[in-house]
């Protein structure tokens, strides 16, 4: 999954060279709150600006519209939307994250600087001008395209969606076969209800999907951490080499060595470290909005039947997922994230 995502992000960043852009709130109504990256929560107001790490959450009667340098983002009710960011070779790239609910993206004009889009189980590269992303309570994703082309990736497999095409991506699985959609005919509530029903019909299977997706994030984090440590060691060596060259060959030659070798290596190392965080936040979203919700639902269901084998089987598998999260992901997070 990591290599696919890296390829995707490299492609994005090569084309975009984008500085992570804030998003301005241009319209809001009903229940809509923002949780800032510092952890504070307040009602969303027109004129507010969301920056990286801020999460916008709409209630059952809430909606909001954002403008992010030419991209209009229509956030529907019961949706959780976060502005995220990752870096490749020092270039920040905005990622628009839909943890739950539905969002419609509309680009005024394609400039080659369009941010990527991700859900708990899929990511999308944008070459289209108008498309919708639906993130289900079970972690699955539905993406439909009105105009242009969108490339959807999950579990190392990608598909291109042309206008009036859609694709369903079950959590922890590659995208399904693209299908034709009638424009504006997707009913998110109906689609989400069917996903929730399927999830509750077989919660162990749902946990299997969560486990697969979580394992991918854990592998990504482990891989980034390993790369970071390798690069850090190399950076230490190169800085020592620099000091040696400075002493033996003088400032001019050492300065060139710094510019050509040490400094670029520092930027690459820094980017790897920040990508550890990106994957960790994605895993947190999966735990909070999919695994956590499923747990609460099942807990209530079996509250007076704690000894039942169904509940014990569920709990055992859920605990395994949680243990992996606590071991691999939690150390990478800070209190304000949680």
């Amino acid at each position: 999954m990591k290599s696919a995502i890296i390829g995707f992000v490299l492609a994005l960043c090569a084309a975009f060279a984008l500085s992570a852009a804030p998003a301005d709130v241009t319209y809001t109504e009903g229940d809509a709150v923002v949780k800032t990256k510092a952890g504070a929560t307040h009602d969303v107001r027109i004129g507010d600006t969301l920056v990286t790490g801020d999460t916008l959450r709409t209630g059952s009667d809430g909606l909001a519209e954002l403008d992010q340098t030419g991209v209009t983002i229509h956030v529907a009710s019961n949706t959780v939307f976060t502005l995220m960011e990752r870096q490749v070779t020092g270039q920040p790239s905005t990622v628009l994250s839909v943890a739950l609910g539905s969002i419609k993206f509309k680009y005024g004009k394609l400039t080659g600087t369009e941010p990527g889009v991700r859900t708990n189980g899929a990511s999308a590269g944008v070459r289209g001008t108008e498309f919708s992303v639906y993130a289900g309570a079970d972690g699955s994703t539905l993406i439909t395209v009105d105009t242009g082309v969108v490339t959807v990736e999950s579990q190392g497999k990608s598909v291109d969606l042309a206008a009036d095409m859609g694709v369903d991506i079950p959590l922890g699985q590659p995208p399904g076969d693209p299908f034709t959609v009638q424009r504006n005919q997707i009913d998110y509530s109906q689609w989400n209800d069917s996903k929730v029903q399927a999830m509750l019909y077989d919660p162990l299977a749902a946990l299997d999907n969560i486990e697969t997706a979580m394992a991918s994030y854990e592998q990504d984090v482990a891989s980034y951490v390993k790369d970071f440590n390798d690069y850090s060691q190399q950076l230490k060596k190169e800085r020592a080499n620099y000091a040696d060259i400075l002493q033996k060959q003088g400032a001019d030659i050492a300065g060139k060595y710094n510019q050509d070798v040490v400094y670029p290596l520092m930027l690459k190392t820094l980017a790897l470290g920040l990508n550890v965080r990106y994957s960790s936040l994605a895993a947190l979203s999966l735990r909070r909005f999919v695994a956590g919700r499923l747990y609460v639902t099942e807990r209530v269901k079996y509250i007076d039947r704690e000894d039942s084998s169904e509940w014990q089987d569920f709990l055992q598998k859920y605990t395994i997922i949680l243990d992996g999260f606590e071991k691999m992901i939690a150390p990478q997070l800070v209190e304000a994230d949680i």
Partner: protein, 145 residues
């Protein structure tokens, strides 16, 4: 002691306290003082307070830089403590030029800091560009932002 003697003494004591404590007591932190505070934070081995010199709402990486493992240890390796941050131009608060030097042959790093106030006169760092070449660039924009 009579009241007319006590009041001036209290005023003098308060003024002396302010002079000693500096303006930070009221939340005023100048550009120079902020850079100095940042330097002090970098010269600790755990760097747990370095992020406090950044703007809590305008700096995108505010949470990321709380975990110094991936940021400060990379840019300012603890092997090169003590670091010295020297402000060379603060005429423009959104492009404060700073030269960072360290011990043991640390390659000089040039910083361009975008600083904005939070509250009244409390300058914080919003973003940090870096250059390996000189204080006139070329800059890698948004190394921390």
């Amino acid at each position: 002691m009579k009241a007319r003697h006590v009041i001036p003494l209290i005023v003098i004591a308060v003024m002396a306290t302010l002079a000693l404590a500096g303006c930070e007591l009221f939340g005023f932190v100048s550009i120079d003082q902020r850079v100095s505070n940042f330097q002090a934070a970098l010269n600790t081995t755990d760097r747990t307070t370095a992020y406090e010199n950044f703007h809590p709402t305008l700096c995108n990486d505010y949470n990321a830089i709380k975990n110094g493992t991936y940021t400060w240890s990379t840019v300012f390796d603890t092997s090169y403590i003590p670091y010295t941050l020297t402000v060379t131009d603060e005429s423009n608060s959104s492009a404060v030029l700073v030269t960072a030097t360290g011990s043991n042959g640390y390659p000089t790093l040039y910083l361009r800091l975008n600083m904005q106030t939070t509250g009244i006169g409390d300058y914080r760092i919003v973003s940090m560009d870096t250059s390996a070449t000189s204080s006139s660039g070329p800059w890698t924009v948004g190394v921390i932002h």
